[in-house]
């Protein structure tokens, strides 16, 4: 029998992960895994540890206890070179896009190609423009600077930067936060298109349930540093889990303390 919380072919796995900040537990023995080629969306209230969950998997935060495994290999056991090699297989779309404002759009997209992979600038620019095309941005924006773009366009540039090196795993940190519903819907479509096109594994965190339903094959809910529910988008609407129900219905009263 297959454990729904732990698929057999885990590309990415959090195993008993604990993380504290100033003594307060944020992740409290988190167990979670994502099968290769699947898109998992983590939902949960503010301050429940969603960002920390993906940051420990990206190697940006150290664990207090437990393990993060990628292709069965423990992240904490990797040396610097192995981690750099690992990062070359990961793409990230940050919440605010995190574009380098001193670099042009194409230099942002080609940053890894030029600085880590040693691709010549001319070839890197061609690949960057091709990646911009994949997220429906015209080549004419390539020489613009991030500050000259709208929030939605910055997210697209961030997405182009995340996919330009054909990663095996992509993390999406609140991909639609701060965007109007139409732009958010367009970003969701692009995410689905890119993840399916690349055949990669995706992990997203979001408050936006419409986005979660659109981009996730599965949805998991994080509360008090643990996964308390996991299912498909269709199951999200049918579940009687009181925590999930309160979150989905957006009610202030319920088992979860006020998130405000």
């Amino acid at each position: 029998m297959t454990d729904p919380i732990k698929p057999e072919w885990a590309k990415l796995e959090w195993r008993g992960v604990r993380k504290r900040f100033d003594g307060a537990p944020v992740l409290d023995g988190l167990d979670l895994s994502v099968a290769a080629g699947r898109s998992l969306v983590i939902i949960g209230g503010s301050g429940q540890g969603k960002s920390v969950t993906i940051k420990v998997a990206m190697g940006l935060l150290n664990l207090d206890a437990g393990q993060v495994l990628i292709d069965g290999r423990s992240l904490t056991a990797m040396n610097g070179r192995a981690r750099r090699e690992l990062f070359s297989r990961i793409g990230v779309l940050f919440q605010g896009a995190a574009l380098f404002d001193s670099l042009s759009v194409w230099e942002n997209v080609a940053f890894r190609l030029i600085n880590a992979d040693g691709v010549p600038r001319k070839a890197a620019k061609e690949r960057a423009i091709e990646a911009l095309g994949r997220v429906r941005l015209a080549a004419s924006v390539a020489d613009s600077y991030p500050s000259e773009l709208s929030g939605g366009m910055q997210k697209r540039v961030g997405l182009a930067r995340a996919v330009v090196a054909n990663p095996e795993i992509i993390f999406f940190d609140e991909p639609t936060t701060g965007l109007d519903p139409i732009t958010a819907s367009a970003i969701n479509e692009l995410i689905v298109e890119q993840v399916r096109g690349l055949g990669c594994t995706a992990v997203s965190i979001t408050h936006d349930l419409a986005s979660a339903r659109a981009i996730g094959d599965e949805i998991a809910m994080l509360h008090a540093g643990k996964i308390i529910w996991r299912g498909t988008p269709a199951e999200l609407d049918r579940t009687d889990n009181p925590y999930v129900r309160q979150f989905v219905d957006g009610r202030a009263d319920g088992p979860m303390a006020s998130l405000v």
Partner: protein, 268 residues
């Protein structure tokens, strides 16, 4: 833990405060030390980012020229007037060219150029790197397989260490020229004699020791800017705090290291 703290008698509380402050200061020294070692390691080991170095050489060096030049010329002129007035009390006004040259090359050139750089460059570095921290650009850089220490810190450390001696050399020349200007235009010194006295008196070591100081100060200025920017926390307020800390700690370390280097060079 809480009960242990409560058990401390009131009379010992100041000692606890002193102890905590000392431990905090030692932690800070250790943290800066580790940061400096990682930055220097990035200077000497690949991958290198020559475009970043070039940008920093321009930003730190070339664009600091006006402010350093203006500071030097007015300081040289004021120093000249003061030495003339002071020397007059011993009927020694004629030593003005030599003392101006000595004061500028050994002390004021490197220190003032470094202080100007602390105000202009250390603050800018802290603000830029702090803003990058606040907007997750540093995290993004790490996920793009690029070490921020090599890409951001190492080029700034190297550029400031290389450029400040050059700026100091220029400040020395302009500062001495400031003294000359006052001497010739206001105090009726003979221009040729002033220049000859300066050139005959000044030794290579006077200039050289100032340039060595400048290299150390340049490293300090960039290190403090990078360190405080890299560890900025708390959004815009944190970036502002990092900027202030970078300038203040740069200035204090410049003065402290100036004393120790001067002692070292005097005893050498």
């Amino acid at each position: 833990m809480a009960s242990a703290q409560a058990a401390v008698p009131a009379v010992l509380k100041p000692l606890r405060t002193i102890g905590r402050s000392t431990l905090g200061a030692l932690r800070m020294v250790g943290s800066v030390g580790v940061f400096a070692v990682r930055g220097v390691a990035g200077v000497f080991s690949p991958p290198w980012f020559p475009m970043q170095l070039l940008r920093q050489l321009l930003a730190i060096g070339f664009f600091s020229l006006p402010v350093v030049g203006l500071t030097a010329v007015f300081t040289g002129a004021a120093l000249g007037l003061n030495i003339y007035t002071g020397g007059g009390r011993f009927n020694a006004e004629q030593v003005m060219p030599q003392i101006v040259a000595l004061g500028i090359t050994r002390e004021l050139g490197p220190v003032l150029a470094a202080l100007m750089l602390a105000g202009r460059v250390s603050a800018a570095i802290a603000a830029e790197i702090g803003a990058m921290r606040a907007t997750e650009q540093i995290d993004a850089m790490r996920t793009l397989s690029t070490d921020p220490f090599r890409y951001l810190v190492a080029p700034r450390l190297l550029a400031a260490t290389l450029v400040l001696p050059l700026l100091t050399l220029i400040a020395d020349i302009i500062g001495v020229a400031g003294g000359w200007l006052v001497a010739v235009r206001i105090l009726d010194f003979n221009s040729t004699i002033y220049i000859r006295n300066t050139m005959n008196f000044i030794e290579v070591w006077d200039v050289g020791s100032g340039l060595i100081k400048a290299a150390v100060f340049g490293f300090i200025v960039a290190l403090m800017g990078c360190y405080h920017g890299y560890h900025a926390k708390g959004g815009a307020r944190g970036v502002g705090r990092a900027t202030t800390h970078a300038v203040v700690s740069s200035a204090i370390l410049i003065f402290a290291s100036d004393y120790f280097l001067t002692t070292l060079f005097t005893n050498a």
